[in-house]
């Protein structure tokens, strides 16, 4: 069986989508997978809608076109639903991980599995902020890692600790752990 997952991240300029997607790739590559993180560059400015694509596979990845039919979509800001359709092309029974609290309505006529992660709250609680702004992509990645189930916690921690100094690394790890608890596999 070949393993192949395509993920599309929707966010806004400044959310750190690119670095989080790259971080994810580093983790899965360490587990022996192939991965690819493609940023879509346009007229970037802080706050403008942006996209990043992540491909994960157990065989080398040759294509580098945009992901049109993702298996998983990640949305860092629920207000994006008002201006674009982050779910376009999502496969049947596809997964949506969205930064939202329980009361936020996310309607979808399809049989998508919608996972709400209160990433703002998790980031604040873990002390994971940059210039006072919560880093929402890390908790969302925590949920994603749980769903993927291909990277063990030890590897996650190893990669995080290589990247950040201890104090910051612990905050990232805490946020990742908290987020993964939100997700129920089933």
């Amino acid at each position: 069986m070949t393993y192949k997952v395509e993920i599309r991240w929707h966010g806004r300029g400044g959310h750190g989508l690119v670095s989080t997607s790259n971080l994810l790739c580093e983790m899965v590559v360490r587990k022996g997978y192939y991965a690819q993180s493609i940023p879509i560059f346009g007229a970037e400015r802080r706050g403008a809608p942006t996209q990043v694509f992540t491909r994960i596979s157990d065989s080398p990845i040759r294509k580098r076109s945009e992901i049109k039919n993702p298996d998983i979509v990640i949305v860092t800001d629920p207000s994006l639903f008002n201006i674009i359709d982050p779910l376009h092309g999502l496969v049947d029974k596809g997964i949506v991980i969205v930064n939202a609290n329980e009361s936020t309505e996310i309607s979808s006529e399809n049989n998508f599995k919608i996972i709400k992660v209160n990433a703002v709250e998790i980031s604040l609680e873990s002390g994971l902020t940059v210039g006072g702004i919560p880093v929402v992509t890390i908790p969302l990645m925590g949920a994603l890692l749980k769903i993927l189930g291909i990277v063990d916690l030890k590897t996650v921690e190893e990669v995080i600790r290589e990247r950040w100094r201890p104090e910051i690394a612990e905050r990232n790890i805490k946020a990742l752990k908290m987020a993964s608890e939100v997700v129920e596999i089933g």
Binding site: N22, I38, P39, F41, R62, K63, R64, S65, E66
Partner: protein
């Protein structure tokens, strides 16, 4: 020390190759999407990992001028640019080749304006076609790393002594992160000894001037000499590629990369980022029983005439994807291939497909659609066919 596998963008992969090649001077001017290459190199220098001088110049023209001076006195020299920066550097790019200087440069291909556009096509790169630079185009970050290290060895070969350019597509390679296996520094040192071994062109103890006005008859011979040397460089490219393959396990002894061509009646030919899509299309078409292959042109100059000829001996249809256009003529890569076939006396069906201009995406579906339409006779041979995101325009 064991090898490391890092997740790197194409640009960072180039920077690591520069680090491992122990480049001594990097004159550069920033331009998107090349900038992160030199930023990373600067970081290597600042943190003491690389003992090199970064020369901050006021333009790309000056960047290549400094590179010319540095290379002429025997220093291993690297620079990088893109698009309008490449055109601004243009005069000195030719100068570097005619002066036979082993400079290595990365060209991140990007559409020329106006209107302004930061995405990839190959129009900027193709202006170097006739310049005397040895030109590679790579299709992923691993190749960017591998070929940059090889480039120094090829350029500095005493029988070659020509500048070498490594090109790749903006963003889809330059900014896409993917796993890249790096050599250890010891392996790189063994493959490419430092400092540069070949004699400098300039020597304070034995003064020369470069580029003085010669007699025209002598100048003609210089031009023919460069032409002979760049054709002979195929041998050096293959040898260096084989040696690198023995070291790394990744073989570069061919100027091209063949994918399922042996029994193919139809072969796609492309270069750069879109090659991956082409190969995926081949797999899909093979699943349906079609005998299709893909040929990636990795060495663009010197041109792989022999390899094209061999492919054309077995195939009956070549579909060439050009990401750059000779205005008033046709697809540039197509014309290269058509002329090879004509010189070899091979008359087979060929298609000139213009795809991916201005950074538009070329997908696996485009390759498949073109394949079906050539089979059904919907497309004319030898006529430039423009396809944009699956639609003929």
């Amino acid at each position: 020390m064991s090898r490391t596998k890092l997740v790197l963008t194409g640009n960072y992969a180039s920077a690591y190759a520069v680090l491992h090649s122990k480049v001594e001077i990097v004159p550069a001017y920033p331009i998107t999407p090349q900038t992160t290459i030199v930023e990373k190199i600067d970081e290597f220098i600042e943190t003491g990992m690389l003992d090199a001088t970064m020369v901050r110049v006021e333009s790309e023209h000056s960047a290549m001028a400094v590179a010319i001076g540095a290379s002429a006195v025997g220093v291993r020299t690297y620079t990088a640019t893109s698009s309008h920066g490449l055109l601004y550097m243009y005069e000195n790019l030719w100068w570097a080749a005619n002066a036979r200087l082993p400079i290595v440069a990365t060209f991140v291909t990007r559409t020329l304006g106006p209107p302004w556009n930061i995405w990839s096509d190959h129009q900027d790169f193709m202006t170097l076609r006739d310049s005397g630079w040895i030109l590679f185009m790579v299709k992923d970050a691993q190749e960017a790393y591998d070929l940059t290290i090889q480039a120094f060895k090829i350029a500095e070969n005493p029988d070659v002594r020509l500048p070498v350019g490594i090109a790749y597509d903006a963003f889809v390679i330059s900014h896409t992160a993917e796993p890249v296996e790096l050599l250890t520094q010891e392996e790189a040192d063994k493959f490419l000894p430092s400092p540069r071994a070949i004699q400098p062109l300039l020597d304070v103890d034995k003064p020369y001037s470069i580029g003085n006005l010669p007699r025209a008859d002598y100048h003609y011979i210089l031009r023919k000499n460069l032409w002979e040397n760049i054709l002979d460089a195929k041998k050096a490219i293959r040898e260096v590629g084989r040696e690198y393959g023995e070291l790394s396990g990744r073989d570069y002894s061919s100027l091209v990369e063949e994918y399922k061509c042996e029994d193919a009646d139809t072969v796609f030919i492309s270069m750069g980022a879109m090659a991956g899509e082409g190969m995926d299309a081949v797999d899909k078409l093979r699943d349906k029983g079609y005998k299709v292959g893909h040929l990636t042109i990795r060495t663009y100059r010197p041109f792989p005439d022999h390899e094209i000829k061999t492919i054309a001996e077995n195939a009956k249809r070549l579909i060439v994807f050009s990401r750059a256009l000779s205005n008033g003529k046709g697809g540039i890569l197509y014309d290269d291939i058509a002329s090879t076939l004509y010189r070899e006396g091979q008359r087979i069906e060929t298609y000139d497909i213009i795809a991916g201009l201005a950074g538009t995406e070329v997908s696996e579906e485009d390759f498949m659609k073109i394949y079906y339409d050539t089979r059904s006779g919907k497309l004319d041979t030898g006529k430039s066919i423009f396809i944009r995101r699956g639609e003929y325009v």
